[in-house]
């Protein structure tokens, strides 16, 4: 009997030895090993549980990561400009109807094939007429009247009416014709090539050696899916992850000295989106009252640790060409004014309303909670309805069966049009049922005009229209916090929802 405790101690120490033992010898787990291998691990909160075919990808998180794999004839720059990518240059005809693209010599796909004009025609046609189920059609392509390749290196596109934003749509990914594995083993022309995907685990990409442009610095990037933000923080601290974007402020504050926090702005507009077709929000005065009753700075302070930039309309500051700063403080916080407007609208004692929030976005839930508190001051009782993302899509976004919702709305490309098009009264994705004849007329004018300055002015007026009529309670463009392990550099921010890793490198 007396030997027992001794045996136990021995067993316990053996266990300890095994568990702690070869902890440091395993490769790839320590940041130093990865630096030696010129590889990094990126933590992402959302799996790429979507088609990897860029013409079918629906989820913003998938597009964000696959930005490294695909390119179009043109590609965006961090400044919000467009530069030729697979095309080497282009000409626009006098009447602005015909675009002639010359293809860059010898651009290679990741499978070793060379990009030909046929591939370009195939890719554009594929996104024009959705012959395959699942393809997300590019609306702007419906105005193409003629599309042909006079020779191997040239593509000519003719439109039925001028569209000054047409080039933005030329960022549509070019894919090899006749390759049918895009859904699961995508092939593009970008600086990184796709290697593998393990569901709810990892996505691996490697540097594409035959890239036409400046090659990527890193040899390998592994995306590690960690959906829980506390867990993500632990993984950053343990040394398993080197880089992580969209980090919540609470987690960013807890990171130690091993990391640098880079701050950019997310390309989306967070707002309390109001269903303009249902009572009481069909009354403009009620919507304005809510705007006046919203202390946006307090939202940033309480729910975002002070990060984020305020907005006053459906445009975010990084689209600086279009962003109108004067709209930001249109509705300065004023409870008395809000009460007066409510009384005028026939609600002197306030009313009750519901805010539907997608529960997978804690930042939107937090915002809704702050709003609920703030609206008590004007007698408005808020009930928060947290719903799953799919329910949100079905009921709020497509069904339009809601009173109000807190969410972020982004743009699919870097044009004002992508942000503003949806609020036309007849737009299919006008989920807030905004109806303004002035707005519709302005939009028609804006897309028809040839003059860039005039168009920018028209888009400005549209933003003003949204603000004046209080289409929504606009809040902010949230900050995008990126944790980067010390020793790494080259994180770039785009006015788009993308994570460009081609510039990321270990400092010499």
């Amino acid at each position: 009997m007396k030997k027992r405790p001794l045996a136990l101690v021995l067993l316990a120490s053996l266990l300890c030895a095994v568990l702690s033992g070869c902890g440091d010898s395993s490769t790839g787990q320590a940041p130093e090993d990865r630096a030696a291998a010129n590889a990094i691990v990126v933590g992402i909160a959302q799996d790429l549980d979507d088609s990897l075919d860029p013409h079918k990808t629906v989820k913003a998180g998938t597009r964000e990561v696959m930005f490294n794999v695909f390119e179009g004839l043109m590609k965006p720059t961090p400044d919000g400009d467009l530069i030729p990518a697979i095309a080497s240059d282009y000409q626009v005809s006098e009447d602005r109807l015909t675009y002639t693209f010359s293809l860059r010599e010898g651009v290679q796909f990741h499978n070793g094939e060379t990009v030909t004009a046929e591939d370009v025609l195939y890719s554009i046609q594929r996104c024009t007429a959705s012959t395959e189920t699942g393809i997300v059609p590019v609306e702007a392509f419906s105005s193409i009247t003629d599309l042909y390749a006079p020779d191997e290196q040239t593509v000519v596109i003719t439109l039925d009416q001028p569209n000054s934003e047409f080039l933005s749509y030329m960022t549509t990914a070019i894919l090899p014709e006749g390759y049918d594995q895009q859904d699961t083993a995508p092939v593009g022309t970008g600086p990184f090539r796709f290697v593998s995907r393990a569901a709810q685990d990892t996505i691996v990409m490697e540097k594409f050696d035959d890239y036409w442009g400046t090659p990527a610095y890193l040899d390998q990037v592994t995306f590690k899916i960690i959906e829980n933000s506390d867990s993500l923080l632990l993984s950053l601290q343990s040394g398993a992850i080197d880089l992580c974007n969209h980090l919540p402020t609470a987690q960013a504050a807890q990171l130690g000295d091993d990391f640098v926090i880079e701050e950019g702005a997310m390309s989306l507009v967070q707002a309390l989106y109001l269903n303009n077709a249902v009572a009481p929000f069909d009354d403009e005065r009620v919507r304005q009252a809510l705007c006046y009753a919203t202390d946006r700075q307090q939202i940033l302070d309480l729910a975002f640790d002070g990060y984020g930039s305020l907005v006053g309309s459906s445009m975010y500051p990084t689209l600086s060409k279009y962003f109108d700063e004067s709209l930001t403080d249109w509705y300065a916080y004023d409870v008395d004014k809000a009460k007066a407007l409510l009384a005028e609208a026939g609600y002197p004692d306030g009313f009750s309303m519901t805010i539907t929030v997608p529960s997978n976005y804690p930042q939107h839930v937090d915002t809704a909670q702050v709003l609920a508190e703030q609206y008590k001051a004007i007698g408005v009782e808020v009930e928060i309805l947290p719903v799953e993302w799919n329910t949100w899509i079905e009921e709020v976004y497509t069904g339009r069966d809601f009173q109000s919702t807190v969410v972020g709305v982004d743009a699919s490309n870097m044009t004002a049009r992508a942000m503003l098009e949806r609020f036309q009264s007849q737009a299919g994705d006008n989920f807030i049922n905004y109806h303004s004849d002035t707005y519709d007329a302005l939009f028609a004018q804006a897309i028809a005009t040839a003059d860039d300055a005039e168009q920018t002015a028209l888009y400005g007026q549209m933003q003003r229209d949204l603000t004046e009529h209080a289409a929504n309670v606009y809040i902010q463009a949230p900050a995008d916090l990126v944790a980067v392990r010390k020793g790494l550099e080259g994180v770039t921010f785009y006015p788009l929802y993308v994570l460009d890793l081609s510039q990321v490198r270990y400092a010499a």
């Binding site: 095994v18 568990l19 702690s20 070869c22 902890g23 440091d24 395993s26 790839g28 787990q29 320590a30 691990v41 933590g43 799996d47 549980d49 979507d50 088609s51 629906v58 989820k59 189920t133 699942g134 997300v136 859904d183 699961t184 995907r197 393990a198 569901a199 709810q200 685990d201 990892t202 590690k224 960690i226 959906e227 829980n228 506390d230 867990s231 993500l232 632990l234 993984s235 950053l236 601290q237 343990s238 040394g239 398993a240 992850i241 997978n360 799953e388 993302w389 799919n390 329910t391 899509i393 079905e394 009921e395 976004y397 497509t398 299919g428 994705d429």
Partner: protein, 316 residues
Amino acid sequence: MRYAAKRAITLLITMVAVSFLAFAAFDIISGDPATAMLGTEATPERVEALRAELGLDRPLLVRYGQWLAGFFTGDLGTSYSYGQPVWDLIAPKVGVTLVLSLMSFVLIAAVSVPLGIWAARWGGGPLSGARTVLGQLCMAVPPFFLGILLTYLFSLVLRWFVHGSFPGFGTDPVGTLRYLFFAALTLAIPRIAMTVRMLGSTIRSELGREYVRTAISRGNDRSGVLRHHVLKNALVPVVTFLAQTMAEIVAGSIVVEQVFAIPGLGRMLVASIADRDYPVVQAIVVILAFWVVLSGTLADLINTRIDPRLRLGGGA
């Protein structure tokens, strides 16, 4: 043997019932795979087209029948989200969750049985209060928080494992086992506390029974009585309890896999429910149900070994 056969048939019926319930549940809850897949790009026409392509426009029973037929011929279908065969997606995860569950089960059994006996023999005494407090504490801490605490200690302070770099059995089996151990520990701690308490009180109540007094008064020594008579009687409810624990482990693994970033079935299940990825959900539900029902069946078989009277149905 007839008893075993009977149990096998019950098992099969349970599985089919579970799979049907899971299938039917999706018809009741809101959210449709087609809308989930199309997201903000969903238009009524596109949703309809996709529903037709996925075969979702057919009645529930037809779809279930087709799924069942596929299941019995080894075809689990194709994931809506990933566009890959379901089995290819989940195969690597089955082993991970299985090892995690088994590991934590072994931990529970190996630690709590001796501890429970010890607690029963030395029940009372000055330490009993402290023991109760410790036990209550272990049971009360939410597994998510416990996981974070253990990670903090073993990964950030002691550096015994690197949180977030699960190696996988293919690359580093030993490292994988080591990684899983800490997750298994998180799962095991509250259940060890429960099992110890349960075993302790069962033994104590057995010790108070007349046959024990008789045995001791006949001159048998205390530990002999405990080992040969009391334990045998106390074991039946404990085995049943441990089988239930297996089900709890499987459920708990969902949370623990998230905390420890382990690519197992639990995380996959949560994600595919959110995505309305029916084929994946069905497959995982069936595997987990099989696992739980099987451990219950095994427990019953073991109990009939310990106490053959149960075979007559009187003990149920």
